[in-house]
């Protein structure tokens, strides 16, 4: 149960809900116990000579009153306990989401979206069930059993009770066994369902290959095998699951037979009344439910614990802020250049360094371009500048101030970033542009859009700036997405612009205009652009050429050509050919 310590705070705050809820539940359990006894009294009164009608009416009204009480308290415990579980669901989801937001990108490299979504949905559900329904089941299992047994012993006949309850311990033991293997087989089913999903997913991703090599039959067989394995795992589950109800009924019927034979004799011999016999039967029936509940409790609790543990391990993940004493104010050295000083970086679990012993300078107020083949480390340079990751060796300096001496938020507030895929949110275009500056005026938004040469196109959309992007809204072309992302980065005129491949889907004349716009931002804006395009590279003040994470060359386009830097010339020739093809 240690897993649930994470929620201690929640329980403290909502303890009265739970305490009261359990009290209402106990009230229901108690009232339920009275009904069989009253039915017994009713029977005896009915069969008595002479019959006392007033007494009968009295008992009947009592039964009715208790029924109303049961219904009322049932309503209450549902509201209290199940309600608490739903508050918990909300609380836990908020908390987990908030935490996820603060986890560094290295965490997201390790964890796939699908898995994280599973934690946010399935695991939270399982925890909710374990702290709602299973509390109810637990209380029922313990108290209903105890009370039913108590009433059997005290109000009817202890000998009959002893005899009738002989099967109970056997039932408990066999149930314990049953739910253990049931749980394992259930996990087996989940696992093979996962395999089934994976096979289908892989197949659909590979569909072109499957068709091209006429692998349809091979794939059908492969799928048939996983599907059959899934079916078999279900069969294994059913073998155990199938015992569940028959077992309860079996032990129930043994008790029933004992009551009929032995209880019947007691009545005939006058040891107990016929009403006692009826009441006893009622208690026996009531016992069936907690028996079933006990099995479910174990199941729910096990699943809830496993899910809680998974959530805990997420909550234990450390958030990003590095341990150094960060400087909270913007130092005077902002006018300085950015230096990569002997940086070596390797992603967690990677076999090779992404950047090795890399040193270069990004001069302030200029446009620096960074280029190199795919996988040469361009995007990693951006990630380190954003402080998504920390290099294992070397440091990034702003002037002579190590970057990680600045507080993370302070540093990031000075950046305008455009990611490689130009991520756009399902929201209005205006909201996308003013993403980081929700207080921005329409004028500022349009100004940023104009700088990114997208204003006119936005105006042409149905709804203009208020047009919704995404599933139910407008569809944007890749180039439009890139330029809206660019406008988002430009809004608020941050002193550092980090643009990861911003023009890959933008045509050359538009690109020219955008670069001219950015030049007009003046000497306070330092710009880093990654690109393959010779056109872009030519316009940069300085080009940094990366090769497998190392610095291959640096300098302006003309300088690099003059020096005949082989890596750069090769890149340019290939790229020029590409651009030649694209020309009209």
């Amino acid at each position: 149960m240690r897993e649930y310590l994470t929620l201690l705070d929640f329980f403290r705050r909502h303890r009265w809900r739970y305490i009261l809820g359990v009290m209402w539940l106990l009230a229901v359990d108690f009232l339920q116990m009275l009904i069989p006894r009253l039915l017994g009294f009713f029977t005896d009164q009915l069969l008595a000579t002479p019959v006392n009608i007033g007494q009968l009416r009295h008992t009947l009204l009592l039964i009715l009153a208790i029924a109303v009480g049961i219904a009322f308290f049932r309503y209450l415990w549902r509201l209290y306990i199940m309600g608490a579980a739903r508050i918990l669901e909300k609380y836990l989801r908020d908390r987990l989401f908030k935490h996820l937001q603060q986890l560094p990108p290295s965490f997201y490299l390790r964890n796939k979206t699908g898995e994280l979504m599973a934690h946010l949905t399935n695991d939270i559900n399982a925890v909710r069930n374990s702290l709602g329904l299973s509390i109810v089941l637990l209380v029922d299992a313990v108290f209903l059993t105890a009370m039913a047994v108590f009433f059997m012993f005290t109000t009817v006949d202890y000998r009959l009770a002893l005899l009738a309850l002989i099967p109970l311990p056997f039932l408990a033991v066999s149930f314990q066994q049953l739910s253990q293997s049931l749980y394992h087989r259930f996990l087996g089913v989940q696992e093979s369902f996962g395999a089934l999903t994976e096979t289908a997913q892989e197949n659909l991703n590979a569909l072109r290959l499957v068709k091209a090599f006429a692998l349809e039959d091979v794939e059908k067989n492969r799928f048939a095998r996983t599907a059959a394995a899934y079916m078999e795992s279900n069969f294994r589950l059913y073998k155990i699951w199938g015992f569940y109800n028959p077992l309860i009924l079996f032990f129930g019927i043994i008790s029933f037979i004992i009551v009929v034979i032995f209880g019947g004799r007691l009545v005939i011999e006058g040891e107990i009344s016929i009403g006692d016999f009826v009441a006893f039967n009622g208690y026996l029936t009531l016992l069936a439910w907690p028996m079933m509940a006990a099995g479910w409790v174990i199941n729910f609790a096990q699943r809830g614990r496993a899910s809680m543990e998974r959530i805990n391990s997420l909550l234990r993940e450390e958030t990003g802020e590095p341990a150094k004493e960060p400087c909270q104010t913007w130092p005077a050295s902002t006018k300085d250049d950015l230096h990569f000083s002997n940086i070596t970086f390797r992603y967690d679990g990677a076999r090779i360094d992404s950047l090795s012993e890399l040193s270069f300078t990004i001069p302030r107020g200029q446009i620096t371009a960074i280029t190199g083949q795919i996988g040469s480390g361009k995007t990693t340079v951006f990630y380190l500048l954003l402080r998504f990751f920390t290099p294992q060796q070397g440091e990034i300096l702003l002037g002579n101030l190590p970057l990680d001496h600045l507080s993370l938020n302070l540093w990031r507030s000075k950046l305008g970033y455009l990611p490689q895929d130009g991520f756009i949110f399902a929201d209005s275009i205006a909201a996308n542009i003013s993403f980081a500056h929700t207080e921005a005026s329409q004028y500022e938004i349009e100004e940023a859009a104009s700088l990114a040469a997208i204003h006119k196109e936005i105006m042409a959309l149905p709804g203009g700036y208020e047009a919704q992007v995404g599933e139910r809204g407008v569809t944007l072309s890749g180039g439009q997405q890139q330029r809206i992302s660019l406008a988002r980065a430009l809004l608020g005129r941050p002193p550092f612009l980090l643009l990861d491949d911003p023009f890959s889907a933008v045509d050359v004349p538009t690109e020219e205009r955008i670069i001219a716009n950015m030049r007009s931002l003046g000497k306070d804006t330092t710009i880093l652009i990654s690109s393959h395009r010779v056109q872009t590279l030519k316009r940069a003040d300085k080009i940094i050429v990366l090769d497998k994470g190392r610095l291959a060359a640096a300098g302006s386009h003309d300088e690099l050509l003059q020096r005949g830097e082989e890596s750069y010339v090769r890149l340019c020739r290939q790229q020029l050919w590409q651009e030649k093809l694209e020309e009209d």
Binding site: L46, L47, L56, L60, I63, L64, A71, R74, R78, E89, L100, Y108, T113, L120, T197, E198, A200, L204, N205, A206, L209, K211, A212, F213, L215, K220, F223, Y230, M231, F235, Y238, K239, W241, G242, N245, P246, L249, F250, I257, V260, I261, G264, V278, T285, I374, F388, R412, L415, Y417, F423, F425, G470, E471, Q481, R488, R573, Q574, W577, Q578, L581
Partner: protein, 579 residues
Amino acid sequence: MHGHHYFHDEKPLKPDPRLLRRMFAYARPYRGALLLALILTMLVASLQLAQPYILKIVIDDYILGPGELSELTRLAITFFIVYSVGLALYYLQFNLLMRTGQRIINDIRRDVFAHLQELPLSYMDHNPAGRMITRVTNDAETLSEMYTGFLVDLFRDLFILTGIIVVMLQLHTPLALLTFTFIPLVCVAIIIYRRKAQPAFRELRRQLARLNTFAAENIAGIRVIQAFLQENNRFNRFAGINEEHFQANLLELKIFAVFRPAMDLLRSLALAMLLWFGGASVLAGAIPFGVLFAFINYVEQFFRPLNDISERFSIFQSALASAERIFQLLDEPKEGETVPGKKPLHKIRGDIDFERVWFAYEDEEWVLQDVSLQIKAGEKVAIAGPTGAGKTSLVNLLNRFYTANRGSIRLDGLEIGELDRQELRRQVGIVQQDIFLFNATVRENITLNAVNLSKDELEAVTRSAGSYSFIQELPQKLDTPVGERGFTLSTGQRQLLALTRILVFNPAVFILDEATAHLDAHTEEMLQQSMARAMHGRTSIIIAHRLSTLKMADRILFLRQGKLTQLDNFEHLLEELQL
């Protein structure tokens, strides 16, 4: 834009008889098993019905009556034996039914999967893979509830309800009729509940979908959010949606919290009425006490299936929705049917002839316009051109991924539309732009589990393809798992594996859709050798991006805006590129 679709279009469904008929068609092969399960179900249910009746006999005939105690014992033991046998049958019934349900679903699942294999690529282009996966997995799973949970359970419930009614009528008709006056009340309660619960439930689903969509987008865009310091803003919005979800959750809870106790109360009322009037009958000597006692027990039993019916309804609805989605997919027309053996392809030389071919993905937006092209067997043709000019479309027509709108395409003089599709594709080997590797071993990725090669043959073919040395360096050589959880291979290595596949499958025609990725000099050189091997002795069409690849071709064609021209002055063009 980065849509993770957690939305299911939720609309109230009326059972469409055609849909039901198709669902039953899948159950048809198992009708014997289902019938047996049904019979067993009824036997088991009869025992449940018998128990109160036995008690009635015990009370009236033995406890209150003159019956012998030894006879009572015999009766009890007989019932115990019969009941135990019944429980064994119950176990069998459960397994039989559930297994049959799984078998039916397995059939459906396999059909859906097989159908997915045969759908044209144009369908795939327009439908996200995630949605199709759900058809095979979750939708099929939900549907299984239809066969097991719904069908048989409903039948059992109806059987029990009918059984109770019959037994009660038989025991004492006036008292039974009196008890039945409660049935309309119960029906009204259920109808009211459904009216309230259904929209609440739908709203809850909608809010959940919103919540999940938002969360998924957030995870996908986490870098942007963190770079722009928007963690708090995004959290506040999430918390807002979470709150709305909570409110919907609470409403649903409240409705349910009223319904169940209300049903219990109704049952108690029925019981009280029964006790009052039944008690009067007992006093009047019209019925023995045991009958009243049996009635009490039957009323208890009567309410259980009624309570379940409301839950069955939701199951039924979601199963129906899943069925509709599944059958919609199965109704999608397949790729042009193969005609096995119509024009068998024995050994192809590899003459290719495109004659005045027009092609558009969407109507009239021509990707290829009047393209004519003859390639002689063994010739190596390179196609260059800007992105979006139709290069990939051109080769996609040759292996019938898509069908030309006009014109004709012939292989060795045979119209490709008349050839067996799979046979044709086996003869046209392709290396695609982004190379797909299965989450399997290197060996399986080379042979694709479709070709059996001995160890020596594999060695020979990998040596020939130039992939031998890098495979030898992998930790488990050919048995090294690649892909998601195994080794991640470099772009160059992936291409080497794809080229090795070509040598393994040995097609007459070789198509290479070159990746645009920039490669370092060493990798480029290595790949060129492998490409040369793959081209050797095959008609080859290379969609080339790299200058070095173009040089390997006999002939260079230029495709621009869907029109094909010959490129003659390639040498001249190269000179122009001097910086």
